[in-house]
Each structure stands twice: as C-alpha cells, then as structure tokens.
C-alpha cells in the first residue's frame, strides 16, 4: 500500500517507521525544516519537506496514487482539511485523522472526516478497560453499520450470574457474542451459566445500552450502578 503520513512528530515518525517495517511504501510530509532534517537522517527519501495544506506539496508526494492518508499533525484544522482534500479532491480511499483537542471532534464529524482518532479518547477507553468499576465498556462503534460492541464485567452483585444465557430476557436488537472466563474466551450457548468475574461481549443496536445495563446491573436485574456506561 502507498501511505502518506502528514506530520513527522513523535506519532508520525514512529508510525512511518512501523509502516515501513511492514513493507508499505511511505512518504512523511513535515513542514518544519529543522524537524525534517532530523527525521530525514533516518527515513531518508521517505520524508518530504513542505506544508501539506498546500495542494502542490500533496501532489509532489504523489497523493493521486495514494491508498491512504494519515494526518497526525498537532493542528486540528490542518488534519481536518488535509483529509478533506485527500478524500474529496484526490479520491483517496482511506483517511485517518488525529484529533488533538477532543472538543474539535464534532467538527471532524461535521466535515465527514472518519475515522478520527483522539489520544484522550483512547486513554479514557483504556482506563475504562483497566478499571473494573466501569462495568460497561464501549469497544467499538460501527457508525455506518449502526452497531455497537460493548464489554461488561459481571460483578458479585450482578443480577445475571448463576443464570442460564437461554433464560435471560435479552433486549431485542442485542446479542451476547462471547464470554471471557479466566483468560479463555468462548461463544456462549443457551445452557451456558454466567459466573462472577465473566467478561461478556455483546453486540447491539445503538440505544439499547440502558436496557442492557438494567439487565446486567446488580441484584434482581432492576438496574443500578453495578454496570455503568462507557464510551
């Protein structure tokens, strides 16, 4: 694949290095002369000097034949517009943009820049994943497909432990897809009995989280804060 990475900061440089190791063709575009000269010592002809906001710089890097453009500069407006131009003017099939300030995320969405990745969001999700108090973790949002995948950790006070999966009144539009028990994962059948400490993955239509929370919450399944929302 031919991949253009915009911005040779820590993220861009390391990303380029990894992609090159995976045998992709890579061009990194960096607008600071100093930074360019530093990075060029290692990446040599794979780094190019210029402001990627300017169309001729993108064209010089061969954007017309690029399969993917990844914009990871420290400037959200730059990342947004470089991806917009890549997608809409040069028909680049895949774009990825970095969001520096999470408050700008709605602007990325408004301009149709998908996916956009925010380090703050990633750390938050990791935090939710690592800290068991957050019972319900948003793993994946398939916006186009209108599906979500969430993870729930079944605590001591959870209302569904000791019950058969087949007996659960799963909300319509939701499905248990796997159970992780003592480090091993399996697909549950109707006879699977849920245990304390199980990590359960469910796929669902957006908007069913509350119902799932109520079902997998503490006690009699009447809801509560044993399972809290994530994402």
């Amino acid at each position: 694949m031919y991949i253009i990475v915009i911005g040779a900061g820590k993220v861009g440089w390391n990303l380029a290095r990894e992609l090159l190791e995976k045998d992709h063709e890579v061009t990194v575009i960096e607008s600071s002369r100093r930074r360019y000269l530093t990075v060029e010592q290692e990446l040599e002809h794979n780094v190019s000097y210029g402001d990627a906001s300017e169309l001729w710089v993108l064209e010089r890097a061969g954007i017309q034949r690029a399969d993917m453009v990844i914009a990871v500069t420290g400037d959200d407006e730059d990342n947004m517009l470089i991806c917009q131009v890549a997608k809409e003017k040069y028909d680049v099939e895949r774009i990825i943009a970095r969001v520096n300030n999470p408050r700008n995320k709605p602007h990325f969405d408004l301009l149709g820049i998908k996916p956009s990745v925010s380090a703050t969001d990633l750390i938050l999700r990791l935090l939710e994943h690592e800290v068991p108090e957050y019972g319900l973790v948003h793993l994946l949002d398939l916006q186009e497909e209108q599906l979500e995948i969430i993870e729930m950790l079944l605590g001591k006070d959870c209302g569904v432990t000791g019950r058969r999966v087949g007996d659960l009144q799963m909300p319509e539009g939701s499905l248990l897809i796997s159970v992780l028990r003592q480090g091993k994962g399996f697909v549950p059948g109707p006879d699977t009995v849920l245990e304390v400490g199980d990590e359960v993955l469910a796929v669902l239509d957006p908007g069913h989280e509350e119902q799932l929370k109520a079902l997998f919450g503490p006690g009699d399944g009447s809801g509560g804060n044993g399972v809290s929302g994530g994402g």
Binding site: S53, L55, E77, L81, V85, N104, L110
Partner: protein, 138 residues
C-alpha cells in the same frame, strides 16, 4: 457595514482588537449597535455567543486559511447561515473550495490581478512611464 445600518458582530481571540474597531468612529462600537465577543472561532460556544444562529451572513477572515475554511464549513453546515464567505490566501485552494460551493475571497489573486493591471497600464511600451528597471522589480 455598521455605518450602513447593518447589525454587525465581531469575534476575536484578542480583547485588544476591540480598540481597532473604533478607529475612525465618532462614537463607541457598542453605542453604534455593534457587538464584540472574545473567543476562538472554532469554539461553538463563542460562535453562538457572537450570534451565529441568527446571522444572515458570516465572514471568516482570520489570518489563517485553514481556520477560515473550517469555520466557514461549520457556519454553512451546522448553523446553515445563508451567506458564508471565507478569506483564503492560497489561490489553488481558494479555487478548489469555490468549486465545492464555498464563497471565497482570495486576496492573493486580487493583488496579483491588480499588480498585473498596474504594470500593463502604468508602463505602456514607448511611453514616459516608470523606467524599465522599476517595472522589472515590480
């Protein structure tokens, strides 16, 4: 535009730029019905405080092309302001965004055209215009 009787609201990151608005006015900016908001153009709160929701026209003319292009699209798509104009210095991008339906003003293009005209009109061949040297320098 304020003098013509329009309602004008300015948004700027720098509180000091308020003073610039009043240069050449016989009364204060607010006394004449003007509005001034301090804030960044990418912050939706600031845009709303400046009155974007009821604006008939929106002009994005910060000193950054990228900021202007982004804010203009926010004004167009999110707030559906009927008339949106963006200042874009880069002629190539101004041209492309214009073709995408954005109303753009490119000061670089305007300056190039004016300079070209000035050169052609100011130094006709054989006339007693500026010397060859200065025409080339221009």
């Amino acid at each position: 535009m304020l003098r013509e009787g329009h309602e004008v609201s300015c948004l700027d990151e720098d509180p000091e730029s308020h003073a610039r608005l009043e240069v050449g006015l016989d009364r204060g900016w607010e006394d004449l019905g003007g509005q001034f908001t301090v804030g960044a153009g990418l912050e939706t709160d600031a845009l709303v405080a400046a009155g974007i929701e009821k604006a008939d026209a929106f002009i994005a003319s910060t000193d950054g092309d990228n900021t202007n292009i982004v804010i203009a699209q926010i004004a167009q798509r999110r707030y559906e302001v009927p008339t949106v104009i963006a200042r874009i210095l880069d002629p190539l991008r101004a041209e492309w965004y214009e073709r995408q339906g954005m109303h753009t003003v490119c000061p670089t293009r305007v300056a190039i055209d004016m300079l070209e005209t000035a050169v052609r009109e100011g130094a006709p061949r054989g006339s007693a215009g500026p010397s060859n040297g200065s025409a080339e320098a221009a």
